[in-house]
Symmetry: C2
Subunit: 170 residues, 2 copies
């Protein structure tokens, strides 16, 4: 079963390429960017400015081919693609929760941005702690590795190379 989605807008971000981009929003503190929504969707933003945080779903347009076992940035062991947050997934949908600073017309100013420039946006949802904050009891392989979030940077390992091969450093 297949589904066709369309870009509702694009990210204008200081992260011009994958290399060096923070790997999570928590490592992108105060990094500011804009979402330029396509003007026809502007009405859908009504009352969004009341929320301090928004969930962005986007198409990881630079993601290389899917492999089900990959080494994430924060570990040197392979894990299943559904147990890591890498972009080269069967459906390369990225998720970032960012701070919403302001909305003017069809432009959203956002902060804590770990998304590369030109990324097509698929959806914007309000972030609501009552829906989206969970009391976890375990975080698997990240238990010992999550402290690396701030020091690690994207090294391009999940990029689609021009010849169609991944730029993996495994």
């Amino acid at each position: 079963m297949e589904f066709n989605y369309k870009a509702i807008g694009y990210v204008h971000s200081p992260h011009q390429e994958a290399h060096g981009t923070p790997i999570q929003t928590g490592a992108a503190k105060d990094v500011e960017a804009e979402i330029e929504l396509l003007p026809e969707y502007r009405d859908g933003l009504m009352d969004l400015e009341g929320f301090s945080h928004i969930i962005l779903l986007y198409h990881c347009h630079k993601a290389g081919k899917t492999e089900l076992l990959r080494k994430p940035f924060m570990d040197n062991k392979k894990h299943g693609i559904f147990a890591i947050r890498a972009p080269s997934r069967p459906n390369p949908i990225g998720l970032s929760i960012v701070r919403l600073v302001a909305i003017k017309d069809h432009i959203l100013r956002i902060k804590d941005v770990d998304i590369i420039d030109g990324t097509p946006i698929l959806d914007i949802k309000p972030y609501v702690p009552e829906f989206d904050t969970k009391e976890v009891t375990k975080i698997g392989w990240l238990e010992k590795n999550v402290h690396k979030m701030e020091e690690e940077r994207d090294d391009g390992r999940f990029l689609l190379k021009k010849d169609g091969e991944d730029d993996r450093k495994e």
Copy 2:
């Protein structure tokens, strides 16, 4: 710009139809369901069982046509579609954070499920508080309404009707 995604699996849920389904995972406490991943993606589950919660992205296959201003279940005023969590969005991608109970082969047992039976799954990601829990300062129109989460149920207003019209009760 358009993107083609495919189902990686399907939800088997006690919620047989939209009507009466809890509107968020927090209102679906202990409701148990299964995800039947397509067998070819099984390897992607490696090490996922170490996480207590997972993020599900899915295609809202019953969603009616997009309208940019809609009344959500928890309010009787219209808000922009990006300021609510209703399924009838420009790209009808749903997001639920559920408890992961067990994985056996390509079947995931999950709890706190607000997803209707037969829903196609697009992606599974590990839920990580360091990435996904944010300290919000405001939740807009939900400030006065979020307490209704547990009492409200889906009334089918976002369903695609057979004649192509939404079953709206506005």
